[in-house]
Symmetry: C2
Subunit: 141 residues, 2 copies
DNA sequence: TTGATATCATTCGTATACAAACGAATTGCC
DNA sequence: GGCAATTCGTTTGTATACGAATGATATCAA
């Protein structure tokens, strides 16, 4: 039924390709609404607001970034004064990352925008379809 | 019903975050099975096999890459002898990109692997759910 | 207690991604 | 024909991503 009659391989039907395109559209919507922060930077600030101070690697695992990637993101947020780092007295290997006052202010102002970004990204779907999509994506993520 | 009782913003429920995680899992499966080619490189070869010779920018728009990105991908494929470029007699601005014999051999050998990568990525879902997911993703892509 | 193992953060190298600016070539329009 | 707008490819700069290697520190086990 849904099988390809000619048995051929079509790039546009592969999950990897469609995921990449959906990501691109979301990124375009995001940067149109929040121009001075990238989605990874936003994710770091949002997670810090949710859970408070943590180590750099712990934050990375919470937002699905490896150690090398999260370091770059935190460095750039730090250069802008949105987060700050401190030492962990109990474990000298760790860097504790936390929001600055400016970072907290910014993320609180941006949350409504982020909600509208999610809304615009999902605008082509009904509420029921949104729920289905998130459920199925969650299972392959 | 599905509304968040506390009205809070949770990163893990946002479409952008879930898309990024699904992409990560797909990439991990891809590189475990096809270690010496990235998904964008594979996409370029697969599309060239589908449509034959095209200009660099045209190829980019077919596989959703901007001009700067596609240039890097083609450069690396060219350095490995998988694609070659020629001049367009009718339009001196254009570079015509095509598969070499080695490139054609490789992509034909890899297509079965790519099919199994798609299968493994979608393994947590039933056939019906796969169809639903691809349909909904296609609408927001 | 000490020695193997694991964890934390950093660094290096490679590969997407995309914006912006650029020169060369082509097209559209009068 | 000729000039403006467009298109093609390139280059530069910035920002993820991830593998691999490394040094410092913790932990665990014999």
């Amino acid at each position: 039924m849904t099988a390809d009659p000619d048995g051929g391989y079509h790039l546009h039907e592969q999950i990897g390709f469609v995921l990449r395109k959906a990501n691109q559209r979301h990124l375009a919507i995001f940067s149109a609404r929040i121009g001075d922060l990238t989605p990874p930077q936003f994710a770091a600030l949002a997670k810090l607001k949710e859970i408070g101070e943590t180590s750099q690697n712990q934050l990375g695992s919470l937002i699905a970034m490896d150690a090398a990637t999260v370091k770059g993101v935190i460095d750039r947020l730090r250069a802008r004064g949105l987060v700050e780092i401190g030492k962990d007295g109990a474990d000298k290997r760790r860097l504790l990352v936390s929001l600055t006052v400016e970072g907290r202010d910014l993320i609180e102002r941006l949350v409504p925008l982020a909600t509208s970004i999610t809304g615009e990204t999902l605008a082509p779907l009904t509420q029921r379809e949104v729920a289905t999509l998130l459920r199925l994506l969650g299972r392959i993520a």
